[in-house]
Amino acid sequence: MKILFINNSGGGFADRIEVESGTTVTQLFTERLPTAKSEDFLIRVNRLPVSADQILQEGDRVSMTPTKIQGARPAV
């Protein structure tokens, strides 16, 4: 099934992707952000906060945004 996946970390990504039916939010996170910790991310489905075991549906809009981001002084 197809969902809209938005990854707001690193280089960023926003596109429709194919996922297997029955995929949970946690499974998607682990697959797409294997080195990240879910507690450092704001994860929403269809703009709403969700539980880790929520099963994704066709057409869902899933966004994952880091809540702690390193700012930096611009190079001189």
Partner: protein, 373 residues
């Protein structure tokens, strides 16, 4: 909460700005880049032709290399322009989408205000404290007209609502905010992508993510220095031109809490100075040495080196005229001119004699020796 009518109006303004930005000057920029490369190539060719006419063979190779470089640059620029100009312009997000974005910002931040005159949408954060330094709440302001110039962090101002700038700079209200401009760091790329796609709520979340995180490797002002430099000892404020740096512990002190090493003149804090146990003056630990006989730590002025065994002893253990340590003096023979004296009294050492003579000197003076008997 903002009435739907006002949110719709704001969403409409946003959509217009995004639509205008999408049809903006990527076209102009790419063609300008191409023209610049063409001019550079023409100039490089002109130089080659002139060098050929003047028969300047020594520079010909370099000039031809420049021409080749210009040709490559032109090729790359043309390929880049062709690729980007052919890309379809993405449609601006729908009104409904942008309305949902504004509602989400309002839900995430608790409120949202629209400044029609400034053409800005604002949301305020909770008070922020980083590493026990209170920075206060900030207002994240998004100026939608700036989208027509660029789709990145430039569209945002981050304004301190209860500023607590560091002593060093009033312009800095947060380690990563100076003159209301955010240094997005790792958020720059995802922030730009979010704005290009109209995901304004994600952009606000990313800005907040930077504000609640301290990057110690690259702040405008480090949090450790937020309250200004202070004397490490008494904590009094230290102006830039009134700091004493202790080279032993590498910390700053005021003039009252710092002094100089009596031995080496190095600047030290009072904690890094130790009193010489002879003269009671302060020296740094590396300038003090332990005397072997009396086990006292002495400065360079107060210690002596035995000329015989090279042991360190204190100057108050030195007998007038002797350069021997107490241990060596105790085993050295008395001077011949004064056999009863325990210590030599002259300023100079006695003339060296053979061991036999010494033995003989000590036996002649001993009435209980076997020979005497």
């Amino acid at each position: 909460m903002q009435p739907v009518k006002l949110l719709l109006r704001a969403a409409s303004k946003l959509r217009d700005a995004m639509h205008q930005a999408a049809h903006q000057d990527g076209f102009h920029d790419f063609l300008s880049g191409l023209e610049h490369c063409q001019r550079a190539l023409r100039e490089a060719r002109r130089r080659v032709d002139m060098a050929r006419q003047l028969r300047l063979t020594s520079v010909m190779t370099d000039l031809q290399t420049t021409v080749v470089t210009c040709v490559r640059d032109l090729y790359d620029s043309a390929a880049d322009a062709a690729r980007n100009l052919a890309r379809p312009t993405p449609p601006a997000p729908s009104l409904r989408f942008l309305l949902e974005e504004l509602r989400q910002i309002e839900a995430d931040f608790g409120s949202l205000t629209i400044d029609w005159q400034a053409k800005a949408i604002s949301a305020a954060t909770e008070p922020i404290t980083l590493k026990d330094v209170y920075l206060g709440p900030f207002e994240i302001r998004f100026f939608w007209e700036r989208l027509t110039r660029t789709m990145d962090d430039f569209c945002f101002d981050v304004v301190a609502l209860d500023p607590h700038p560091p002593d060093a700079s009033e312009d800095v209200t947060h380690p990563h905010v100076k003159r209301s401009k955010l240094c997005p760091g790792a958020a720059k790329k995802p922030l730009g992508d979010a704005l290009e796609q109209g995901r304004l709520a994600d952009a606000y979340t990313l800005v907040l993510g930077v504000l609640v995180t301290y990057n110690a490797s690259s702040p405008h002002v480090a949090l450790e220095e937020w309250a200004g430099a202070r004397c490490h000892d008494c904590q009094c404020p230290l102006p830039d031109d009134d700091r004493s740096f202790c080279e032993a512990c590498s910390r700053d002190y005021c003039q009252d809490c710092a002094s100089f090493c009596w031995s080496c003149d190095g600047l030290r804090c009072t904690h890094c100075l130790e009193l010489c146990q002879v003269c009671q003056r302060g020296s740094c630990q590396s300038c003090l040495a332990l005397t072997q006989a009396s086990r006292r730590r002495c400065c360079t002025e107060c210690r002596r080196i035995c000329v015989d065994c090279e042991a360190v002893f204190a100057r108050d253990e030195q007998k007038h005229g002797s350069s021997l340590c107490p241990a060596c003096r105790s085993v050295s023979p008395p001077a011949p001119s004064d056999p009863g004296a325990a210590e030599p009294m002259s300023d100079t050492l006695p003339d060296p004699t053979s061991e036999e003579d010494l033995h003989a000197t000590s036996l002649d003076s001993d009435t209980t020796s076997p020979r005497a008997a």
